[in-house]
């Protein structure tokens, strides 16, 4: 109080207290924003990591093949030729399918 009396200007009553309260509130707000950004950033990183893992899993599943036929150029050629083959020829090629075997698509 004695220091304040020496100051060249007079502050209104309670001004210091008010300033302290406001500055504490500002610090709290700034801290909250920083925390929110950090959390948001963490969420985005987690989401990106999950997306990458999912993509890797999907690609891996598609490429995983007991007999690795998909890597054969002859397989690709055969599949593209089958796409525009007559129905009769295609049906002949389905003869090996086991009907009602559990994991087959039904016509």
């Amino acid at each position: 109080m004695s220091e304040m009396k020496k100051m060249p200007y007079r502050l209104p009553e309670g001004a210091m207290e008010e300033m302290k309260i406001r500055s504490r509130a500002a610090v709290r707000r700034a801290d909250a924003e920083r925390t929110a950004h950090r959390q948001e950033h963490r969420w985005m990183v987690s989401l990106a990591a999950a997306a990458v893992c999912l993509l890797v899993a999907i690609v891996g599943f598609m490429r995983f093949d007991g007999d690795a036929l998909s890597d054969s150029p002859y397989y690709d050629e055969l599949m593209s030729m089958m796409d525009d083959a007559p129905a009769e020829v295609i049906y002949e090629m389905t003869a090996d399918v086991v009907w009602y075997g559990g994991d087959t698509n039904q016509l």
Binding site: P86, I90, V97
Partner: protein
């Protein structure tokens, strides 16, 4: 008048038959050609997948063709081709019976050819052969299912 009418009808039917026959023959020839092209690529693929030597491939090719012809003969029940959306209470039993019959007959041919193939390729190669054939058949089925064939 009646005789004239009958004569015109006879001429019309003959004309229709004569023009339809070449088209059917042309279609059959086109199917046969396409089937042969597919068989050539299929054999090349099998040669690669099974790791056949030139000697094995030379012995394998005719036997495999004969095997596919045998499968085609026993699995030719057209009732099995009816699509799911066309199944009714009236035809379902016939369709299921036809499909099961195709499955049993095909398995029987595969079993019969086990020893024939064993004279040319190793047992592990035979196992892989049947697995590859199964894969090709499933892809063909997807094509038949999704492309209105």
């Amino acid at each position: 008048m009646k005789k004239m009418f009958l004569m015109i009808m006879a001429i019309a039917v003959s004309a229709f038959t004569l023009t339809a026959q070449p088209k059917q023959d042309a279609d059959k020839a086109a199917h046969k050609e396409k089937a042969e092209q597919l068989m050539v690529v299929r054999l090349q693929m099998l040669g690669e997948e099974l790791g056949l030597t030139a000697e094995q491939a030379a012995a394998f090719d005719p036997v495999y063709r004969e095997y596919r012809r045998a499968i085609g003969r026993v699995a030719d029940n057209k009732a099995a081709r009816i699509k799911k959306e066309n199944l009714t209470n009236e035809n379902a039993l016939k369709v299921v019976a036809a499909r099961l019959s195709n499955t049993i007959n095909t398995a029987s041919v595969k079993q019969k050819y086990l020893l024939t193939f064993a004279e040319i390729i190793e047992p592990l190669q035979i196992e892989k052969l049947y697995r590859v054939d199964d894969r090709i058949a499933r892809e063909a089925r997807k094509i038949a299912q999704y492309s209105n064939k």
